[in-house]
């Protein structure tokens, strides 16, 4: 297998002088042909900047990038012929109809007028937008816009696809729909690099996951690799009395596969476990034996927060990311919608 996407030592600063913010800090990344890689990280980690560099939108300060062997920096025009891109928010024209949007993109890919029309109709059908095809996009729901935007990225049947947070801002139902669409897509052999803030999403869609923090990849592997390092599910307990925290910690550490983490302020304890619901029963029994009053108890899957806690020892930082966020449309745009 060859690598469809290769990024080496990507470095990018926004701004200059003392106020420069380092968005990418020597990022290395590979996407094997025909596979899906999920770039997982919090806001401001450098996900969007990475996508922008790889899709010829942004020139990095250092490093190199290749897509299907073509140098992104030296031959951006050649790279554009082989990629499809769907940004963080739907870049579709509100005043055009769904059909007109896709038809326009087809023409700009130089498919020819007739082929552009046919391809547009085909995609609208495929993305369940045929009924809305001739309505203006301003009447579309968020999920429909996203699907149309994704369809726009597929007009020329590109062998390599980049999706930047394809489900951010979508309601749970639309998110599931989007996952279905993407899953069908990659079954056809498309190489895909997608970014996400959700471990569950990366888990669902990606063959391999690269965890990114402060502009570099801090862990890389299959979802199972990462989960092994994370210890699968979590039991989360909130005790009623502060005094019980110490004893509860001992109890939980005895049941879990790792040390229990205590958040004293919220009286919350978290411990990685294996064994699912059976473990939960065991936890309840032992806490009860120890006469520890519990106000909340749950079994949950690891989140991005857990990934970061495990890999970096800190929660996804929001501190110095504030500056980077100004350049990363993720936060502002999603909230604005």
């Amino acid at each position: 297998m060859t690598d469809a996407v290769v990024a080496q030592g990507l470095t990018k600063y926004y701004g200059s002088g003392d106020r420069a913010v380092r968005a990418l800090d020597g990022l290395d990344l590979r996407v094997e042909e025909g596979t899906v890689v999920g770039l997982l990280g919090p806001n401001g980690a450098g996900k969007t900047t990475t996508i922008k560099v790889l899709t010829t939108l942004l020139v990095p300060d250092a490093g190199s990038a290749h897509v299907l062997g073509q140098d992104v920096l030296a031959h951006p025009a050649a790279v554009r012929r082989t990629i499809g891109v769907s940004g963080q928010y739907a870049a579709v024209d509100e005043y055009l109809t769904g059909f007109e949007n896709l038809d326009m993109v087809g023409r700009l890919y130089h498919l020819g007028a007739r082929a552009a029309r046919e391809r547009a109709r085909e995609l609208l059908e495929q993305f369940d937008l045929a009924d809305a095809a001739d309505r203006q996009v301003k009447g579309y729901s968020g999920g429909m816009r996203r699907r149309l935007d994704l369809a726009g990225a597929l007009v020329a049947r590109p062998p390599v696809l980049f999706l930047d947070e394809p489900t951010t801002g979508l309601d749970p139902r639309s998110r599931l729909g989007m996952w279905g669409v993407i899953t069908d897509l990659v079954r056809g052999g498309t190489t895909l690099l997608l970014t996400t803030q959700y471990l569950e999403e990366a888990d669902q869609l990606a063959d391999r996951i690269a965890v990114i923090d402060h502009g570099k990849v801090i862990a890389e592997g299959t979802a199972d690799d990462l989960k092994d390092r994370l210890g699968g599910e979590r039991v989360e307990v909130v005790v009623t009395h502060d005094d019980d925290l110490g004893r509860a910690r001992e109890v939980l550490s005895g049941v879990g596969v790792g040390e229990a983490v205590v958040d004293a302020r919220s009286r919350r304890l978290t411990v990685p476990v294996t064994g699912g619901a059976g473990v939960l029963v065991e936890v309840v029994r032992r806490l009860d034996d120890a006469a520890i009053a519990v106000s909340d108890l749950a079994l949950r899957r690891p989140t991005l927060d857990d990934v970061f806690l495990t890999l970096t020892g800190h929660a996804p930082a929001e501190d110095d990311e504030a500056d980077a966020d100004a350049h990363d449309p993720a936060t502002s745009r999603t909230e604005a919608r």
């Binding site: 939108l57 942004l58 928010y89 870049a91 024209d93 055009l96 700009l108 350049h327 449309p329």
Partner: protein, 269 residues
Amino acid sequence: MSTFTRAASDAATVTRRNLIKIRRVPDLLVFTTLQPIMFVLLFAYVFGGAIGTQGTGVDYKEFLIAGIFAQTVVFGSTFTGYSIAEDLQKGFIDRFRTLPMSPSAMLFGRTLSDVFNNVISLVVMGLSGLVVGWRIRGSALDALGGALVLLVFAYAISWVMALVGLLVRTPEVVNNASFIVIFPMTFIANTFVNPETLPGPLRTFAYWNPVSSVTQAARELFGNTNPDFPPPDVWSLQHPVLYSLIWSALVLAVFVPLAVRQYQRTTSR
């Protein structure tokens, strides 16, 4: 397809998109046309009586129309910057820039569709001018030439605005920023008053201001001048058509490459 025909076809595709938007959002067109009507009426009836012939030998309403035409098409060009900043903000330029399309097509498509806006404005203003008593006193061909000088100059200015839109990035700021430049530019000129009445430095500015020459060119080609009252003895106003076209060509020569270059490195934030 050669590079050129490909670029032309891309620009046509983008132009078509912009024109569809004008059709779908008629409010936009209504207000772009109401504004010049308002200006024609305001100046004709509020200032018309008070200002008189200004020593130009022409009735003020007749003097005024070419000035309003010039002002309106120059203001119209700010729409280019506004729309580009809007496309940038909405991520539309990102989408265009990842397509294998000609890098200049987006900007050519935008500026060309804005010419259409200005043509509509000119027609509406011409009609309202006729209502308040303005007449074309030269040949129809000359009058068409006058309209052409106005449109070519506005087209050049819209490339300046394109660059502003790409640099400023916020549609509202583009509007406000261009306002403080364009307002004086269209007022310190021969648009509404005889520049000879202006104090020293302003007069010199007005003489060499391309808005003045564009206005003068339109006035002459519409036949709204009186041969007994020639324009000030400066080259720019003695050869207004040539001076206007030289300006337009220079602006295009500088700002087309600058805007295209900026477009290729601009991405949404």
